[in-house]
Amino acid sequence: MSQPSETQGAWDPSYNFAFLDEQTKRMIRRAILKAVAIPGYQAPFASREMPMPYGWGTGGIQVTAGVIGPDDVLKVIDQGSDDTTNAISIRKFFVRTTGVRTTESTGDASIIQTRHRIPESPLREDQILVYQVPIPEPLRFLEPRETETRQMHALEDYGLMHVKLYEDIARHGHIATSYAYPVKVAGRYVMDPSPTPKFDNPKMDRCPALQLFGAGREKRIYAIPPYTEVKSLDFDDYPFELPTWDAACALCGDTHSFLDEVILDDAGGRMFVCSDTDHCRERRANGHVGPAAAAAPFETMSAAP
């Protein structure tokens, strides 16, 4: 059961459709096409100042503004949630500048702009996932000079990244990178999947939906075409592993979704809930009940073991 889409918004005609001027949109569109043609490659684009600070998703917003049309249905999530300030602000921005319908339901959306999560439910061919990216260069913390990292990509010289993962193993006994976990796209470019948890990495592999990445401050657009191989970097003897946990979502009981820890009081009370709010709501609407769902009020809950 999906939540019905919100009603059609009102486009404020004092703005050009999707806020950006037409020449800016053409520039962004050309960059998007080259990004799709060279999977995982960071195509430079002339990122504009947007009416919100860098770090609020200006890259993702510009990509969305480049692709969105009046018939689209937009969903915006921030760390999986439709209800956070960032997600609501961006949704309102596009309602005001395009009048498109918005939704919280993953299944109803044609464009999903996301900060740091990939929805739990599988995406379809007729959907586009737009990621907000803070630092697009996976090698940046290993090599600060853009001239050098650009050449490393040109030469497919990714040894440094493997050294980094190796050092993780030497220090921690396992690859301790848990988010922004580097991937290799279509066997060529190493790419930063943005700070999504590595739990989400397998969802990028051979995904039926087009995935677009926009970094506003760093002025880069990159893409993963549909059905493209996305491999998380690892070693033969230390293969990529998904994190596991014992807890189930306190509200819907899901044991396979990515969970947020919510502190309930100052006495150690806490609960784990789905980070993907739409996924959780849909499961509850379908009758799934988590351990805490019936046990309100929450302050009576004891700490999870």
Partner: protein, 203 residues
């Protein structure tokens, strides 16, 4: 009293989009879909016919993606005065006769046996490469060509009429230089299909 100037020769430039903002958005989405799923045939057209030999799909692509920052090469057989006038009037794009300087090119399928004259980018910036619009006779979604690569789940079938016999070999040669390369938009009438540089073709 000065004599009246001779009447200007009235050669109207055909119209572009009815609504440049929304129409170019919808054409872009068709092109994006075609780029993302190589070989799938998409539709893009202008409301009124462009000056021949420009076909509707290539004119729609041009009005969506060309502007003053994109040098455009038009093959001699297509670069008639009305076509040049139409493109420069609607998009403001500079025209170039140097194929390797062009961000976009419009050529005929019969002339597409050699792709090496176009910019293929640099190892650091492979995106600084040409997008080549190739006008062909017909495109069909159920042809003998099998396409594989990013964007394709198993294989996409494509039929193309009116391509130079050497085109596929020329593409395959360029493919060895990946990530360098050129990206192709095949246009026939109001249909188009894309071949980004990653697409492998079995002819």
């Amino acid at each position: 009293m000065t004599p009246a100037p001779p009447p200007l020769e009235a050669v109207p430039i055909p119209a572009g989009f009815d609504d440049p903002t929304l129409d170019s958005q919808s054409v872009f989405r068709a092109v994006l879909e075609a780029f993302s799923r190589p070989g799938r045939v998409a539709f893009a057209a202008l409301p009124s016919p462009p000056p021949g030999p420009l076909v509707s799909a290539s004119a729609a692509v041009a009005l969506t993606l060309f502007d003053l920052s994109t040098p455009v090469f038009i093959a001699p057989g297509i670069a008639t005065a009305p076509v040049q006038e139409f493109l420069t009037f609607h998009t403001g794009c500079p025209l170039t006769e140097q194929a390797d300087e062009a961000a976009f090119a419009i050529i005929d399928g019969a002339d597409a046996g050699d792709l090496s004259r176009f910019a293929i980018g640099t190892p650091e910036y492979p995106d600084r490469s040409a997008t080549v619009v190739i006008q062909v006779q017909a495109l069909s979604a159920d042809g003998s060509i099998r396409l594989r690569g990013p964007g394709v789940e198993h294989a996409h079938k494509l039929g193309v009429d009116g391509l130079h016999a050497d085109f596929w070999l020329a593409r395959e040669r360029l493919g060895l230089l990946f990530p360098l390369g050129v990206d192709v938009i095949l246009c026939a009438g109001s249909s188009l299909a894309c071949l980004p540089r990653t697409t492998r073709a079995e002819v």
